[in-house]
C-alpha cells in the first residue's frame, strides 16, 4: 500500500554562507521557513525538487522536508532536526534565532 503523502517543502544550505534556506513560489530562496512553497502532492514535490536542483550556483544539497501549516496558514517544520535548522544551536544565541 502506498504511504500517505505528507506536505513538504524544499530546503537546502546557501552556497556562500551555509545558512539554511527554503525554496519559494518565485523559484528563489528564502531564509524564512514560513515563506517556503508547499508541495501538496508527490508530483508537485518532485517537480519542485527538480527545479531547486537546477540552482546549484546558489545552494547546496536541496532536499524535501515534511511540513505542517500553522494557524496563519504558513508552513512550519515537523521533525526536530528541521526545527533546529530554523533556529540555530541551543548552546548559544547564534544563527537564525539571532537574526544572523
Amino acid at each position: 500500500m502506498a504511504r500517505e503523502y505528507k506536505p513538504r517543502v524544499v530546503t537546502a544550505n546557501d552556497l556562500f554562507e551555509g545558512d539554511t534556506v527554503y525554496f519559494t513560489a518565485s523559484q528563489s530562496w528564502s531564509r524564512d521557513h514560513a515563506e517556503a512553497i508547499v508541495a501538496w502532492s508527490q508530483d508537485a514535490a518532485e517537480t519542485l525538487l527538480a527545479a531547486a536542483e537546477t540552482q546549484q550556483d546558489k545552494v547546496v544539497g536541496p532536499y524535501l522536508a515534511e511540513t505542517v501549516m500553522d494557524e496563519h496558514n504558513r508552513p512550519q517544520p515537523v521533525h526536530f532536526r528541521e526545527v533546529f535548522r530554523t533556529r540555530g544551536p541551543s548552546n548559544y544565541f547564534h544563527g537564525k534565532q539571532a537574526g544572523a
Partner: protein, 557 residues
C-alpha cells in the same frame, strides 16, 4: 617543537593557493557541488546544519602561543568569537563563510598549521598522549614519531583513496591517555629486553557503529621499521578493505572478518616485500625531527611556594588535586585547564580565553600548549613554584574549573546543535548533567568518572569507552538517549554495555543521577571508583535501578 622547513611551507602554501582557486571556481559556477565537495573535504571544509565548518588539525595536540593566538584571531574575525576543540585534537570553526576559507588557511599557514586530511578517506590527523614529553610515566616522547607519521601520511599518493578514513594514535606511556585501542592503528612505545625502543602495534580498534577493541599484530616492532610496517598494514587494508559497504569499510571489519592470525600473516608478508623497496626514513630526517622535540631547559630551583599555597588556599588545593599531574621533573607539574565550566559547552574556548592561555603558556609554560582528546587544554611544563600564580590568573579568566577526571569533565561531540550527521543533541545533555551535579555538590565525593556523549552512532563523543556512555538517537521523531556502562578508553580498554531501552531527554539526567546514586550506595568505600565498582558488581544493579521500577522518576521510553 617542530617548525616547518621550506618544503613543508611551500607544500602548505601551494595547497592554499590551489584551494583558493577551487573556491573561486565553485563561486563563479565553473565547479558543481559534486565536483567541489571532495575538494573541500580534502581541505577540512564541511557543510553543517547552519553553516560551513572548518576542521583544523592540531598535530599530536601540540600548539605554541603564536599558534593559539592565531586561532583566537581566526575565531574573532571569521567565527563568532570562539572555537571548538574536538576529541581528535582538532579545532573546529563553526561559522566561516565559503569565500573566507582560503584566507583562514593562509593565516594558519603563517603559523605552520593546516586543515589537510582532516576529512575524507585518508590518514587523518595523528593524535598522541596530551601529556607527551612531560609525563612522569613516559618511556619516550611519542611526538617525534607522530610528526614523522604526519610527514609520511600527508599527501601520500598510495593512501589518498582508502576504503574509509584511517586514524592513528600513539602513546609513549604505559598509562594510555590516547585511547590507542580504539584507533585503526594504535602505537604504544616500549623497550624490549635489550632496552631498544620500539612499538607495540595495535590494529583494528574503533568505535562507531561496530565498536571494537584493537588487537595486537606485533608485540614489538623495532623503531626503524615503523614506516615500512605501517605501509604494509595500509597496503593490506587498501587492497582487501571492503569498498562494497560503507559500514563495513573500516579496517576493524577486515581484521574481524579475516581473523587475527591470517591478517598478521598478510601484514608480515607485505612488510617483507615493502622493506626491500623502502627501508624507512633517513637517519638525518629522524634526527632532525627528534631535535625539534628536545625538552625545554628546566629550572630546578626548589621553592616551597607550591606547598605553601596548598596549605593556605582550599580552592588551590582542590585545583591541584584534579588538574595538576605528575611531571617527569619533580620541580614541575602538568597543568590541565578545563574547558568544562558548569553549564558550559565542552571543548569551547573564546578568543579571549585562547589569548589568556597563550600568554600563560609563554609566561609559565615554556611556550607549550596541548589539546587533549578529552577537550581540555594542557600546559605541560609549569614550575610548581609558578602554579599558584598561574592558578590565580586562570581564575580571573574563568578558566580555573577544578574538575579534571570528574563527573562534569564530560566529552561531548557537537551533536545536532551543529553536525549534519547527528541524530540528537549532545551539548545540552552535557550542560544539564554538569549543572545538576554542581547543585548536588557531590562531584568530589563521586570521584573519578568519565561521562562521554555522542549525538549519533558514529561515536565522535567516544560514548562506547565512557564509564557512563550516552548515545543520542532519533526515535520516531523524538530525541532519545541510550546509556552504556563500564566502557574504558585506557590500556584496560573495554566497550560499554547497553543498559536497556533509551530515555527521552527529560528522563535522561535523572537516570544518570540514579546510576551514580546506586554506585555511591554500593561502593565498598570512597577508594573504589565507579569503574571498579561496576566491574565488581556487573550491570545488573544499575539496570535494576534505572529500569526496575518503571513508575519511578527514571522512566524508560
Amino acid at each position: 617543537m617542530y617548525i616547518y622547513n621550506n618544503f613543508d611551507e611551500a607544500f602548505v602554501r601551494n595547497r592554499v593557493a590551489e584551494f583558493r582557486d577551487q573556491v573561486q571556481r565553485r563561486i563563479d559556477g565553473s565547479l558543481t557541488e559534486d565536483e567541489f565537495k571532495p575538494l573541500r573535504l580534502k581541505n577540512g571544509l564541511y557543510l553543517q546544519l547552519h553553516a560551513y565548518m572548518l576542521r583544523v588539525a592540531i598535530p599530536y595536540g601540540t600548539l605554541n602561543s603564536a599558534q593559539m593566538r592565531q586561532l583566537a584571531l581566526i575565531a574573532e574575525r571569521f567565527d563568532k568569537g570562539y572555537g571548538h576543540f574536538t576529541t581528535r585534537q582538532n579545532i573546529q570553526f563553526n561559522w566561516p563563510r565559503l569565500k573566507d576559507v582560503p584566507e583562514i588557511l593562509d593565516l594558519l599557514a603563517d603559523v605552520g598549521m593546516h586543515a589537510i586530511q582532516t576529512s575524507g578517506n585518508c590518514i587523518r590527523n595523528v593524535t598522541a598522549d596530551h601529556f607527551a614529553g612531560a609525563a612522569a610515566d613516559e618511556i619516550e616522547d611519542p611526538r617525534p614519531t607522530a610528526e614523522l607519521l604526519r610527514q609520511w601520511s600527508t599527501d601520500h599518493p598510495e593512501f589518498q583513496y582508502l576504503p574509509r578514513k584511517f586514524k592513528i594514535a600513539i602513546t609513549g606511556s604505559p598509562n594510555d591517555r590516547a585511547v590507542t585501542k580504539a584507533h585503526d592503528i594504535g602505537l604504544r612505545m616500549l623497550r624490549n629486553e635489550a632496552g631498544e625502543p620500539g612499538y607495540e602495534v595495535i590494529v583494528g580498534g574503533g568505535l562507531g557503529r561496530t565498536p571494537m577493541v584493537g588487537k595486537i599484530v606485533r608485540a614489538f616492532l623495532p623503531k626503524a621499521d615503523l614506516l615500512p610496517y605501517l605501509e604494509a598494514i595500509l597496503q593490506v587494508y587498501n587492497v582487501s578493505g571492503r569498498r562494497d559497504n560503507k559500514y563495513k569499510a573500516r579496517i576493524k571489519i577486515l581484521v574481524h572478518e579475516t581473523g587475527l592470525d591470517e591478517i598478521k600473516e598478510q601484514i608480515e608478508a607485505a612488510f617483507e616485500r615493502q622493506k626491500r623497496d623502502f627501508a624507512g626514513p633517513s637517519a638525518d630526517l629522524v634526527a632532525e625531527i627528534e631535535a625539534a622535540f628536545a625538552p625545554p631547559v628546566f629550572d630546578n630551583a626548589r621553592s616551597l611556594a607550591f606547598e605553601q599555597a596548598q596549605a593556605d588556599d582550599a580552592g588551590f588545593r582542590a585545583f591541584v588535586e584534579t588538574n595538576v599531574a605528575e611531571h617527569k621533573n619533580p620541580a614541575y607539574g602538568i597543568v590541565s585547564v578545563s574547558l568544562k565550566p558548569v553549564g558550559g559547552t565542552p571543548g569551547d574556548a573564546t578568543a579571549d580565553q585562547m589569548r589568556v592561555l597563550a600568554d600563560l603558556a609563554e609566561r609559565y609554560g615554556h611556550d607549550e600548549l596541548r589539546i587533549s582528546h578529552e577537550q581540555n587544554v594542557i600546559l605541560p611544563h609549569v614550575r610548581k613554584a609558578d602554579i599558584p600564580a598561574l592558578h590565580q590568573q586562570l581564575r580571573e579568566a574563568g578558566l580555573a574549573t577544578a574538575n579534571i577526571g570528574l563527573v562534569s569533565d564530560i566529552i561531548a561531540c557537537p551533536g545536532m546543535d551543529y553536525c549534519a550527521l547527528a541524530t540528537a543533541r549532545s551539548i545540552p545533555v552535557a550542560q544539564e548533567i554538569s549543572r545538576r551535579f554542581d547543585e548536588l555538590k557531590l562531584e568530589r565525593d563521586i570521584g573519578p568518572l568519565k561521562i562521554k556523549i555522542s549525538g549519533c552512532i558514529n561515536a565522535c563523543g567516544h560514548h562506547h569507552v565512557g564509564h557512563i556512555g550516552i548515545l543520542g538517537l532519533d526515535k520516531a521523531g523524538r530525541e532519545n538517549y541510550q546509556i552504556t556502562l563500564g566502557g574504558d578508553g585506557t590500556e584496560s580498554a573495554a566497550i560499554g554495555e547497553r543498559t536497556g531501552p533509551g530515555f527521552d531527554a527529560e528522563d535522561l539526567v535523572p537516570a544518570i543521577e540514579t546510576i551514580i546514586e546506586t554506585y555511591l550506595e554500593l561502593r565498598e568505600d570512597a577508594s573504589e571508583t565507579f569503574l571498579a565498582a561496576y566491574r565488581r558488581l556487573g550491570a545488573e544493579p544499575f539496570k535494576q535501578a534505572i529500569h526496575g521500577d518503571r513508575g519511578g522518576r527514571a522512566r524508560a521510553a
